[in-house]
């Protein structure tokens, strides 16, 4: 689904991402972990063609994301609040992003019912602009808007960071369910090792721009990762 070939990003002479080769197969759920500054967000941004790599390329369905827009048809992403149009109400934002995929309002309204638990009554019909929502609720809007688009590829950067524990659990279940039903390719970054090992079948561990571990999740993975991170200190 997604192939990365000799990808490099350099800021001020420092290599912040350096990935010789990476293959993400269709239907995989990939967890991206690593300490601050490991290059996770930069990698996401290059996969979404938001910054130009110094070297190498990202292929999505064999098309270079920098040269074609076709990947946008089936890729939904939420990296940070900069993805939200903050002067819209959540409903308007859902209609807007849904409209880009030719979804009717009625369709979106009916899809939104599925998010009733996830929203916990704090998003819809509150008469607030997105900019007046808390960070956690903004995150819910971003994630919901991604899932509404019915994507084949989903990218989320630290979706668990700002939301409450109940919503974290609901989000995990949602991602797992969707993955089982629709065979979605998902890439999630997180600092929460529990959640990542819970949801993801495959873990990529980044350090200083390199992927230093690429493991299939099993019952020992969590321990292995905890060991790695505690040694680092």
């Amino acid at each position: 689904m997604i192939q990365i070939q000799s990808l490099q990003k350099i800021y001020n002479g420092v290599v912040v991402v350096n990935i010789p080769e990476l293959n993400i197969r269709q239907g995989e759920t990939v967890g991206l972990i690593g300490n601050n500054g490991a290059g996770k967000t930069t990698l996401f941004r290059m996969m979404l063609d938001l910054i130009r790599p110094e070297k190498g390329e990202v292929l999505s369905k064999d098309q270079n994301v920098a040269n074609s827009d076709s990947w946008k048809d089936y890729t939904a992403s939420f990296l940070d609040e900069g993805f939200l149009i903050d002067y819209l109400t959540p409903e308007e934002y859902f209609y807007f992003t849904g409209g880009l995929h030719d979804l009717s309002k009625a369709h979106i309204d009916s899809e939104l019912i599925k998010f009733t638990d996830f929203f916990n009554g704090e998003i819809l019909n509150r008469g607030k602009y997105i900019r007046d929502l808390s960070k956690g609720n903004q995150c819910k809007v971003g994630v919901a808007s991604c899932l509404l688009q019915n994507p084949e590829v989903l990218m989320l950067d630290e979706p668990f960071a700002n939301i409450d524990p109940s919503t974290q659990i609901r989000l995990k279940n949602m991602i797992r369910d969707i993955n089982r039903e629709k065979h979605l390719t998902t890439i999630i970054s997180s600092h929460d090792l529990n959640h990542v090992t819970d949801v993801c079948e495959r873990i990529l561990l980044m350090e200083k721009g390199m992927i230093i571990k690429d493991i299939e999740t099993n019952q020992n993975t969590l321990l292995e990762l905890e060991e790695y991170f505690s040694v680092l200190q």
Partner: protein, 494 residues
């Protein structure tokens, strides 16, 4: 403590990311202000001569006293429009062991540093020193100074208080302006009251007994305290942030639905414009330009039939002001969610088409609003239409070409007046072709005596650009694709 806060603001200025740019702007602004202040000084120095000319045969000092209150009323209007609220980012200080009163003192103190507070003194002190001091002595001179200072600072804190309290509420501004206008109407047209008489009464009182000037300190002191306690009560994060919590409705614009994704994008940008402070005031100001023609056309010298340049210039400005005023900062308006726009399924050509749609919408509304100028002759309407076509064809394309080269983000929540954020070299360069372009076409033909052809040419070239828009959208799109990383990078550096 106040000193520490000032020092930290100083650091904030020097260490901000775009210091180089803001220094240049400060210098330009500084020269501009200096120029105005020198003018004021000159006016003040010759004020006795000027007053003698305007009010022949009247006592110079009493005509001066009669004018003072008018000046301060006018000053109040100007301040309400342009004076900036002092901005200390109070957030990092509120949780520290710093007394609230200290923060407020700092805010009050730093706000005094403004040209508005210097101007009244520059305008009056030389005159007073020249006329009052030799005639009435030091005590009356000091009385005048105290009175002027009291009125200046009253205006200062009153406008700050009103601005803070209403937080840019357009109704309050209208009521405020209307009441001042009403006062002027009652004075000048109905002659029911006389502000100048009242003004003269106050200041001739001071001439008789200079201690009376201390009475004027009372309104100043009271408004200072009102402002102080208002701040003290409202120095909370949530209340300083947004005072109004009314229901936001999801408004739709049915007219734009027929344009598909392009219409959705334009509708979203319309929401951007009307739901954010800075963009809203920029657009409202551009509507005020509709009255620009009155300045020219009512003037017999400038608006005469033989003068052809006034309608060109006015037409250019009145139908194109939105394109210039809003377009010059594109795509900075969308800087806060630019990554989202790039990552979403939005084709670049749709993005550009939506900008053209938006320009067309506003320019057309403005053209319709300028139709009444037909009163000054049919030719004016024809020329306005030619300039409208030019604006939509040539200038809109030019603005978007420069938008591809604008990497400066804009914070939508700040107010627009004297806000230089997002202003860079591209804005200065941009204004040259925008305003000179039509003249390059027009002048050679005009000099050959082909006046009608000259006007027609401008319109035809504009129309030509509109007809070939597809080509321009494609050119702009491929240009955008080259620049997109740079634009997005710039917008991420707030």
């Amino acid at each position: 403590m106040t000193l520490t806060l000032i020092r930290q603001q100083w650091k904030a200025f020097w260490r901000s990311k775009n210091t180089g740019q803001s220094i240049l702007i400060q210098v330009i602004l500084g020269i501009f202000i200096l120029y105005i202040l020198i003018n004021l000084l000159a006016v003040s120095f010759f004020l006795d001569k000027i007053l003698g000319e305007i009010f022949p045969g009247k006592n110079i000092l009493s005509s001066f006293s009669g004018l003072l209150l008018y000046y301060f009323l006018f000053d109040l209007i100007l301040r309400y429009q342009f004076q900036e609220l002092p901005t200390l980012r109070v957030k990092p200080y509120l949780h520290l062991p710093i007394k609230r009163s200290q923060i407020i003192n700092y805010l009050s103190f730093i706000s005094l540093w403004s040209g508005f507070n210097l101007a009244p003194f520059l305008l009056t002190v030389p005159f007073l020193a020249k006329i009052v001091l030799p005639q009435y002595g030091v005590s009356v001179f000091a009385g005048f100074i105290i009175a002027i200072a009291a009125l200046t600072f009253f205006n200062h804190f009153f406008s700050l208080w009103l601005k803070r309290k209403e937080n840019g509420n357009a109704w309050v501004m209208l009521i405020f302006l209307a009441s001042i206008g009403g006062l002027a109407y009652i004075d000048f047209s109905l002659h029911l009251i006389s502000i100048s008489g009242f003004s003269d009464f106050i200041f001739s009182g001071i001439i008789k007994n200079s201690l009376l000037s201390f009475l004027l300190l009372i309104p100043f002191a009271s408004i200072f305290l009102v402002n102080y306690f208002y701040l003290k009560k409202n120095l909370y994060l949530d209340e300083l942030h947004s005072s109004t919590e009314n229901q936001k409705s999801s408004s739709e614009i049915p007219f734009l639905n027929r344009f598909g994704v392009v219409g959705d994008l334009a509708a979203t940008e319309l929401k951007l414009i009307f739901r954010n402070k800075r963009s809203k005031s920029a657009v409202i100001k551009s509507f005020l330009f509709i009255f620009y023609g009155l300045l020219f056309y009512t003037n017999p010298r400038l608006g005469s039939q033989s003068n052809i340049f006034a309608p060109i210039f006015c037409g250019l400005l009145m139908t194109g002001i939105f394109i210039v005023n809003y377009g010059q900062f594109m795509f900075g308006w969308q800087s806060s969610h630019f990554d989202g726009l790039l990552a979403n399924k939005i084709s670049v050509s749709d993005f550009f088409k939506s900008k053209f749609l938006l320009f067309t919408l506003f320019a057309t509304v403005n053209l319709i609003l300028t139709i009444p100028y037909v009163y000054f002759g049919w030719r004016i309407l024809i020329m306005h239409t030619a300039m409208f076509l030019w604006n939509l064809g040539v200038n809109a394309t030019l603005v978007l070409y420069f938008a591809n080269r604008n990497f400066k983000s804009i914070d939508l929540s700040k107010s627009a007046s004297f806000n230089w954020q997002g202003v860079g070299a591209s804005q200065w360069i941009l204004s040259i072709p925008l305003f000179l372009g039509p003249f390059i076409i027009f002048l050679p033909l005009y000099w050959m005596g082909l006046e009608s052809l000259a006007i027609a040419m401008v319109g035809i070239i504009g129309l030509g650009f509109i007809i070939t828009r597809k080509f321009w959208v494609e050119t702009l799109s491929s240009n955008f694709k080259n620049k997109r990383y740079q634009i997005a990078e710039g917008f991420r550096n707030k």
